[in-house]
Amino acid sequence: MNASLLLVVLVATPLVGSALTFAASFLGSRLGPLVAESVHVIAISIIAFVCVVLAATVLADNHVFAFGRWLYLDPFAAILVGLIGVVGLLTGIYSLGYLRHDLASGTIGPAKLCSYYGFFDLFLFTMLWTATANNIIMMWVGIEATTLGSAFLVGFYGQRASLEAAWKYVIICTVGVAFGLYGTVLVYAEASAVLPNPGETSLWTVLIDHAASLDPGVMRLAFVFVLVGFGTKAGLFPMHAWLPDAHSEAPSPVSALLSGVLVNCALFVLIRYTAITTAATGPGLPHALLLVLGTLSVAVGSLLIFVQTDLKRLLAYSTTENIGLIVLGFGIGGPLGVAAAILQMINHSITKTLLFCGSGNVLMKYRTRDLRNVRGLTAIAPATGLLLGAGVFALCGVPPFNIFVSEFMLVSAGLGAGYGWLMVICLLLLTITFAALLRFVGGSLLGPRPKDVAPGDVGTIELVPMLALGALVVMLGIAVPQPVARMVANATSVVLQTTPPAAVARAPWQAGAELAAREK
């Protein structure tokens, strides 16, 4: 099967899966859930497999087009598609145990379980659509569709708080993303007036090739609209208000999807526009805006993490902080800054997926997210405690876990580019996060075992995906694997529109080992 056809299969699979799982709800309370789970597992397995094959194809220097060049996969898109595939598979498997627990406890009924998998697969479809879109207007359609596909997942439990979160999520994101449409239309209209073939002016690949001929004034205005629009969906300060509510009220595997991949989808589109705007106007305005919003997001995220007593809200504010760091990397620019931002996208996605799955285990064991009532997790559920601990230390930016590598690269890039004071401020803010997370370790992971919580871990089906995520967190922290490093370098070249930089994504000790090998 050729790569173009595979790309179409990738986008179509979750849509078909979604339709079939919705239809399964008509099969009755016994057969329905069974069929829905089976279809869901088959769909997420196919998606993950196709993602790996397509990533390998792109890694071999082949950009993939399909559907009359409307679908497109370059190394930057391949990283996002890979993340959707991996996180979709692992959270999809985790969902099986989590939803069965909800079903057994009477929180949901069989029909609701089928609808969960229907919306879950629909959500994957909308994100894959966004990641593979080459047409900028269809990129916008994809981002808007992600809100619509996931709104019922946020309000899944139908409780007061979850409905409130769903309402804020839909209103803030649809309004925010509407600004993105204005930016998109401005770019399209400008390109239609300037470029030779009007039929192709909505294609990103065409726009980036002709970006230098676009009017700088229009592009600056368009970028501001785009930043507000897609920045809202990415959870950047000050448009982040929906994020803590939606992340905390959604079922935990959905929170993992929102935090691990959805915000990356919005960032991906924002960076696609940053590349065009930088080529049209120079880096001045886009990079300045990214630096300002990135720093503010890190600051607000760090400070609000410190005052949280709700585990999932704490993780949600950490997402705002990490998105801020990623945007800061793109704002710093240069091969090291951009590579650091892309590696941080990968590392944050995997770590936060692990942590939100862990928060699901906490909910299943303690029936609360209030950290004042969660004590002695390691004594109650050792595997969950250990995996959550690994995730928390990764989030702290401690070696040998993955986020240390990308944060180290980011700070190095900032210092190298002359943003010394900004890096000092960021490091101080990261110290606040470190302190807040250590408090979580001391207060909730460790400590005496509460008497009213039955000891024993959650089921294997929840722990296996978490083990895989934990392994990735450590693996990417010890040494960035060669294929990942090459993909990050190639994606960096897509963002910067230069030739791929050599060995840019690596842990500090990898650089030392390479130097020692060369001296021998």
Partner: protein, 216 residues
Amino acid sequence: MTGLQLVNGLASLLIVTSLLVIEAHGVRRSALYYALQSFVLVLIFVALAATVDAPRLFLWAAIAFVTKVVLVPFIMYRTLGGVEDPALAPHRLAFAWSILLGAAVVAICFVVVSTVHLPVAAALKPALAISLAHFFLGLACIVMQRNLLKQVFGYCLMENGSHLTLALMANRAPELVEIGVVTDAIFAVIIMAVIGTMIRSRLQTLDVRQLTSLRG
């Protein structure tokens, strides 16, 4: 009257109809005024199609008629028509402020649009300014209205504004693009209406200021 003048004139009618949507008593009246406004939008598409030689806009007009003049108002009228919150009745003073706000927004948008160099829509700058103003009026409706169903109409107004911008500036885009944008808009309205109804039945209120369980 030339075609361009007709487009610009019809565009100004959108502002009048949007004020009616915002200030109407009850969801049913707002839905009817929204249908009227969408019909004006359809007329603009037809006038624009004939004036700037963009035959695709005839199809856009047909799609907009089916979806925005018939389908969305029908959904709003039927599903939300009986959903009221007596505590949220509008008062007369608000209408006067709405008119002032509308005038201010239109003036600002005229200034902004006049400063941007846009060869595609040079002769249609008044309509463009009004489409932008319409978008921000919808935004103001969302921000200022306490009734969450009025917020849904605010989104509808924003969407009509951006749809007109799209027709003025991107009328040569492929049909699939238009279908994608309209599909998103319809589903957004349906999802907002469903969640709004769920909130009404669960929380017994339509007042967004009562949605306060998530803080911090």
